[in-house]
Structures are given as structure tokens and as C-alpha cells.
Amino acid sequence: MTKRLRSASLMVSLGLLAATAIPHPAQASDLAIPPIQYHQRTLPNGLQVLSVEDHASPNVAVQVWYHVGSKDDPQGRSGFAHLFEHLMFKSTKHMHAEQMDRLTEDVGGANNASTGDDVTNYFEIVPGNHLQTLLWAEAERLSNLNVDEKNFTSERAVVEEEYRQSVLANPYGKLFNAIDPKSYTVHPYQRPVIGSIEDLEAASLQNVIDFHRTFYRPDNATLIVAGDFDPRQLDAWVDQYFGWIPRPATPIPQVTAKEPVRKQDKRYTVTSETAPLPAVAMTWLIPPASDSADRIPLQVAAALLSQGDSSRLYQSLVYRHQVAQEIGAFADTRVGPGLFTVYAVLASGHEPAQAEKLLNEEIVWLATQPIADAELDKVKTQLLTSELKQRQTAQGIAFALGQASLIDGNVQHVNDDLAALQKVSANDVHRVLQKYVTSAKKVTIDYLPQAKAAPDTAKGAAK
């Protein structure tokens, strides 16, 4: 039901899926996972096209990924890239508002889109016989967007409700929304994807027109098609509908900010009126996703710490010491500098400091002490199984390709990282944790429930 997700969360989960890259042949299992047989080409206007033919179902996934995200929000317009994503479902020269829904949902398909720090992706799944229609529609909104004031205003109100739902009404929304602003000092990653109500209110229709002209161009996009189609037919349709779109002469603006190495540990407190239990989160800076030699061991480290009930943080904080209700660790890698993030939501009667101490102990232990082969094998098998689950659907295959191409820096990662993951050793895990975590500076956020003062005395007796 929730669609057009803002999806900082989706992007995080995609990051985790990338961690699921599986080597071939997989030693952690008796299985050989066949590589994804993708086809790649680039049109003269710069549009990258990736495709995978797969007739497992009668459906085809069509995705367009743009190299634009919240890092590219205009000055004073935090949340704009995401607001813009919503407006791509409004009118174009040849489509009325919501016609994308007519072309997908109404024929048995579905559509959605998400905005992350680095990319914005639009994705549809439709019965294979509607492929041509969807290619036309995606080319249309890339080249002919035409939003009016009325649609702009009403969709902005939707995005503001999305902000309230994900940040204000979600008990831990304010914590996760604070991670980027507190973790980056210079890089525009410090802006939360969802932005702020004030900046959204300040956005104008002219901003929409300018943003589309600046970033929505064939040389800044990747079209991905996976599922039930004929490759020769696909190429012809892509040429027909996308080929004519001109490549602008102007350069694509690039973020050049460099996030400096942290000089000291920092600590912040965020309060919540609705969270029932406190939480604590810690972050460290890690290299870009394209540095796969370090990214993949960091992903393995995160899985050792937090994937499943047998993981180290779960066993220590949730099971043995019972100080936490929930734990997490992830290597949130991006096109630019990423974050290694760990967090715990406390169990009743416990304080953030208790969880923080145990989180640090487990990280140091993992970074310095021997790791049993069986435990490494376990993590590799978990990641292999997750990868296979993702590859059950055309949409899942398409997402894997987009992640590899746009975030990890090269589509080949979708297959190559499988072999790299298989080779990750205990020494690799030690090396990256020592380099980026235990010997580096961290940002810590304490998240504390703080009831809003009652404005009247009508409040019922607390039970």
C-alpha cells in the first residue's frame, strides 16, 4: 500500500542485498549459483541499457535508475529529489496524472519508485505483453514531464504526510532520520532523504522544471529490463522510444564535497515523544561501495554481528544480557563515503550506556579475536540463500543489476562479488574493522524517550 517510498530504508536494504553477492562456485554450500546472464549496451545519447531474459514467469520488470538522489537536492530544498520522484507519476505531454497506474496496475502489474542518497529508481512489473507500452511511458516521462500547480501542491502534501508517518509517527523514525545529519560534516549525505516540512513548503514548480532539465537526461540514466521478452524486439523498441531523446550539451552537476576524516568522537542526544524505549546508534565512515576489496569484508562483518538470532550482537545483547530488544549492524555503502552503523533498541529497564558497552565489546572482539571457519561458512550460506531468494523474481534480478551498476560502480559486480565474497577470510574481517572502526572515530547518538508535557489536566490516570 505504501508506495513511492522515500526509501532511505529501501536503499539500506538494497545495500544489504548487495552483501548477498554469491561466489561461483559456492564453497559454503553444495550449490553452484549460475551467474546472471545480462546483456549490456549504450545508446548514442548515453542511455545505458541492461537486460536479462528470463521466462520463469510471464512478467517483465522495467526499471529506470537515475544518477540523482538526495545528495543533489538544490540549496535550501532538502527532500526535493524525493518530492520530484513523486511528481514523475503526474502529467506529461502525452500522459495524464496517474496514467502510469493505468498502464501497470490496471493491466495486472504494479509500479513504485524510491529515492536514496545517490539514486532514484522507478520500477514496474507488468505482464510481458505490456513491455512496449511501458518503454514508451518511461521514455515519455524522461523527455516530456509536464506537471501542473494543482498536482504539485497535492503531491507535496502527500510527501509531508510521508514525513509525518516515517519520522514523527514511527517511534524510531527520528533516530534513523538523525543518523546522516549527525554522521556527515561536509558531504551532502548529511541531508536526510525525506527533507523537512519547511524546505518542502519552500519548493516551487519552477524547481521541478529545473531539476528535470538538469538531471533527467539519457546520459544520466540506466534502463533495466528483466523477465519475459524477446531481446531483438527489446532492442528495437528501446531504439524507437529512447533513441531520439537528445543528450544535453551541458555537463551533469557532480557532488565534489569531500567528507574529512573524523578527528574526534562525537556524541549527540535525540529525544522522542512517542518512543517507548531508548536506543543507541553508532556510526563510522567507510569507503565508497566501488572499493569492493573493503566493502565485501565490511558486509561480512555486519552479517557476523547481526544477521539472525545466532549473530554475535543478538546473542550478547538480546539473548545473554537481555539489555536490548532489537539490534542491527550494516555496511551502508554508497557512491561516496558510506557508514558502518550499529544500533540497539533497549529492553525495558535498561539504559543506552549498557548497550553501548556491549556493542563496543563485540565489535572489538570480532576485530581482534579468531573467527571460526564454521561461523564464516554460516554467514556465507545465509548470504547465498538470501541472494537466491532475491533472484526468484524478475524485479529482484533487475534490482541486483541496478545496485551493482549504479552504486557499486560496475554491473559486473553482480557476478564478480560472488567470488570475492567466497574468498573473504577472518583476516579480511579483522583488517577492515581495525582500519575503519576500532581505530577510527565514531559518532554516537543516544535516543531518549521524553514525554511531551501535557497541555491540560484531562489526561487519564496512568495505569
Partner: protein, 489 residues
């Protein structure tokens, strides 16, 4: 890679194969028409029974080496005794927390070494535990599944741990306005019946649950003649039977009869419109609920299509009116859940606090309109397509396939109806929907609950609905059918 088991129809011809780049003037102003529709291939489940009464249902989807294995037992939260809300769910959760000589951490490590995890929960009419693994790991996974289902320890320390985790989970869940509103609306629909309480328990009920309660429920429900093993994915019926026999063949069935199923619904003590003040809430959760026919009812497909029109997808009426036209919410929708003895229609949306009165009126209006006027043919065709498409996609994963098959088995619906879904949905007429709505969605039988910062909407709602009752979230007694503690307490 998967072998193509279905052929795309020949929509491609030489005409489109001329390569070369088109000009802007060639870009068509209207979308190209689709080619002939492809066929949905739905695998047929196979049901077999072991001598001890265990039903074994397998369904094959062999394009990837994956299998989902789930052990289901009939009965779930409906069996929670009075004052012990959450017992069935807690019992399911505790299965994997120590069994057959292995501790909880050892079981988690074993399951995760196989690449999966043991996930357990109780619904109203069923309890289930399952795991998805690659095909070579399946025999070991089934061995583990059998241990935790048949020989759980329910050690005192684990019961305590699970209880405090469940209480914290519940606190988290109830801090979200729509979750609390849905819980209260459910109580409105089912009253003191077996489906009326909080299936995940209440802070008070969870504290009362003892190890003996858990053991008693396990003894009563977890028995082969009350269980169904579902195997979906890369597996044949012969393999399914052999693996089931190896892990569950010597599971003895007790001589005692199965406990009777309690009545799902009974009189409700809640007012038709209930407002719950959750001080400082960032948004208001608006929920409207109706009683619905049981899952096995003949009206199932008509109800499903009616729900698809009302709120089953992005383009359905509730989201159209509340989000798309007015920008009042990030998403509004509805679901229809048919159960063993009754069912529920539940519509929900989260909105900024001051908009709650408007969202209530829009929701009521949409329920009413379904019985007042006939659904237009184009709208109906579109929503049927959405419903059928989503159904087909839900069967693309082994876990989705297992879930669909399990629902049929639990509610005693013939397994071959999985292949008849498309035809049944297509056959539903506008007249049937109108009739259904008049019968099941009458305004005088609706339960509306709004949870949020009531200072911002309470007065406005009470102006239109003087009968609306306002409660404080901090003063709710979730164990009570009236949600209020007895007077004098």
C-alpha cells in the same frame, strides 16, 4: 538458469526489427497497444497423508534450488484462554528456544548454518513455523523443524525471556497510532468472541502466562492429526512424502480428541465511534472495520473483488480519495480477512491529526458507496486485473506459494482452487458486489477508531458524531472487552 516452461506468444514480427534511431517527431503521442496476454502458469499442489494423520502438501516450482518448509497446526490465537491473551503466539515463538537437547542459541546457529532461519507465529486459526533453504539443506532443515515442533523444552528461563521480549514488542507496536486503532477496531467487531482480544497479548496477560499454560496448549494442538507440512519449491511429491516420513513418521497421535473451536465473535461493548487520545502522536491513525463472512463462504471471490475496488491497491477508491485527490495521507487502503468462524474488513489510513475528521468521513462515504451504486465496468476490469496480477506474483516465490497453499488447507478450501482463482475473480459481476456490500457493509454495523493527539480532532469528530467516546491511551485496559478497567479500580 530456469528452463522456460511457458512460451511468450509471438507478438514480435519483422516490422519492429528495423534498427536505427528515431527522431522526436516519430515519438508516438499515445501508448502502443499491448500484444496478446500471456498465460499464468499455476503449479498444482499434491496432498498426501501419513499414517499418523499428518497432511503433507507439496507444490513444485523448480526454477531455482530453493524449498520453503512450513509446519502448520490448526488453531492459533482463538484458543487463548480468557486473561491469557497471546498464549498461542508465545507458544509458537518458544518452539525454537530449546528442544531435543539443544539450547536456543544452538538451534538458531543450526538453522542459520543451513542458510535460513526458523520463523514462528500464531494467526487466529493456525500456528506455523517454517524455514526456507537451498535444496541440498532440506533434509537437515526438516530434521530441525521436527525437533522443535515435537520436542520443545519450554524451559522456565526461556518462557521468561520470551515474555519480556513480547511485552517490549507490544509497547513498541502500541505506540504506533494505526496499530492501536486496528486492535481496538478488532475488539469492536468480535467483542468477547475468540477473535476479539489482542493476539500478541497485553502487558498484563503476558505476565500471567506460565510455563504450564504453554505446555498445555502445545499438548493440545501440536499433534500429527492436527498438522500440515507444506513443502514448496524444488521438490517432487515423492520426495516430499519420503522426507516427511523420515522426520515426522514416528510422531505419535494422542488418543484424546482435539479441543473444540470456540465461537469467533460475540456481543461488542464498544461504541460505533471510539477516539483514543495518544498524547503527542505525530499523526492520527484512522481505522474502520466491519464483520465479514468466513474464508470458506461462497462469497469469498465477490468479497475479494469488492475489497479490490474499495481499498486493495494504490489505485483503489480509498487511496484515490484520501491520498491522490486530497493529499491527506501517504497511503489509505483496506483488507478483507476471512477466518474460520467469521472475518473482518478493515480500512486504515494515517493522517496529520487535524485531518482525521475528514478522513473518517471519506472512509465512511466509500464503504457506503459500494452498496449505493454499481461499480463501473472499466473500473471493475482494472481492479480485477490488479487483483489477479498480485495473486500471480505472490506465487512466484517459494514462500508466497507455501503461504497460499497453507491458507487453503487450513480453511478446508479445495487445493485445486489455486488454479481457478483467475476464472473465479473474472466471473464476479457489479450486481454481486452491490448485493454483497448491502449485506455485509451496512453503516450501522461499522466500527470506527481514531487514535492520535485527540486535542486536534476530538471536538470536530464529536460534532458530527455525538455518540463518539473518548478514552485515554494511558488508561486503556486491553484485556477488557470495553477497553476500560472495571469501575472503582
Amino acid at each position: 538458469m530456469s528452463r522456460a516452461n511457458h512460451f511468450r506468444l509471438a507478438v514480435f514480427t519483422a516490422i519492429a526489427l528495423t534498427t536505427g534511431i528515431a527522431a522526436a517527431t516519430d515519438f508516438p503521442a499515445t501508448p502502443p497497444a499491448p500484444g496478446p496476454a500471456p498465460q499464468l502458469n499455476v503449479p498444482t499442489p499434491t496432498a498426501q497423508t501419513l499414517p499418523n494423520g499428518l497432511e503433507v502438501i507439496s507444490v513444485r516450482r523448480a526454477n531455482l534450488p530453493l524449498v520453503t518448509a512450513q509446519l502448520w497446526v490448526r488453531r492459533g490465537g482463538e484458543m487463548d484462554p480468557p486473561r491469557l491473551a497471546g498464549l498461542a503466539d508465545l507458544t509458537a515463538n518458544l518452539l525454537s528456544k530449546g528442544a531435543a537437547g539443544r539450547s536456543a542459541p544452538q538451534i538458531a546457529a543450526a538453522a542459520e548454518a543451513l542458510g535460513g532461519s526458523l520463523d514462528a507465529s500464531a494467526g487466529w486459526d493456525e500456528s506455523a513455523i517454517g524455514i526456507t533453504v537451498t535444496t541440498p539443506k532440506l533434509p537437515q532443515a526438516l530434521g530441525l523443524l521436527a525437533e522443535v515442533v515435537r520436542q520443545p523444552d519450554f524451559a522456565e528461563t526461556e518462557v521468561q525471556r520470551a515474555r519480556s521480549q513480547a511485552i517490549d514488542d507490544l509497547r513498541l507496536q502500541l505506540s504506533q497510532p494505526t496499530a492501536l486503532a486496528a486492535l481496538a477496531a478488532n475488539r469492536g467487531v468480535f467483542g468477547e468472541g475468540a477473535y476479539g482480544h489482542s493476539r500478541h497479548g497485553t502487558p498484563d496477560s503476558l505476565k500471567r502466562i506460565t510455563r504450564a499454560d504453554v505446555q498445555r496448549l502445545h499438548d493440545a494442538l501440536y499433534r500429527p492429526d492436527n498438522a500440515i507440512l507444506i513443502l514448496a519449491g524444488d521438490i517432487t511429491p515423492a520426495q516430499a512424502l519420503q522426507l516427511a516420513q523420515a522426520s515426522f513418521g514416528d510422531w505419535a497421535k494422542p488418543a484424546t480428541p482435539l479441543p473444540p473451536r470456540p465461537a469467533g465473535s460475540a456481543a461488542s461493548q464498544l461504541p460505533p465511534i471510539l477516539l483514543i487520545d495518544q498524547h503527542g502522536a505525530g499523526q492520527a491513525g484512522v481505522v474502520a472495520a466491519h464483520a465479514a463472512p468466513p474464508r470458506r463462504d461462497d462469497s469469498y471471490y465477490v468479497g475479494s473483488v469488492a475489497n479490490a475496488v474499495l481499498g486493495g491497491s494504490y489505485s483503489a477508491r480509498l487511496n484515490e480519495e484520501i491520498r491522490i485527490k486530497r493529499g491527506l495521507s501517504y497511503g489509505a487502503g483496506s483488507r478483507l480477512q476471512g477466518l474460520g468462524d467469521g472475518g473482518v474488513w478493515l480500512a486504515s489510513a494515517q493522517t496529520k491529526n487535524p485531518s482525521a475528521p475528514q478522513v473518517v468521513e471519506l472512509m465512511l462515504g466509500q464503504f457506503k458507496q459500494l452498496g449505493d451504486s454499481r461499480v463501473d465496468a472499466d473500473e471493475l476490469a482494472a481492479r480485477k486485473a490488479t487483483l489477479i496480477g498480485a495473486y500471480g506474483r505472490s506465487l512466484e516465490t517459494t514462500a508466497g506459494l507455501a503461504g497460499e497453499v497453507a491458507e487453503l488447507a487450513i480453511y478446508g478450501v479445495p487445493l485445486d482452487s489455486i488454479g481457478k482463482y483467475v476464472t473465479e475473480v473474472q466471473a464476479v459481476t457489479p450486481k454481486q458486489i452491490e448485493k454483497y456490500a448491502r449485506k455485509h457493509l451496512a453503516a450501522d454495523d461499522l466500527h470506527v477508531v481514531v487514535v492520535g493527539d485527540a486535542a486536534q480532532f476530538g471536538a470536530a469528530i464529536r460534532k458530527d458524531h455525538p455518540q463518539a467516546v473518548l478514552l485515554q491511551s494511558t488508561a486503556l485496559d486491553l484485556d477488557s472487552p470495553s477497553l476500560q478497567a472495571p469501575a472503582g479500580r
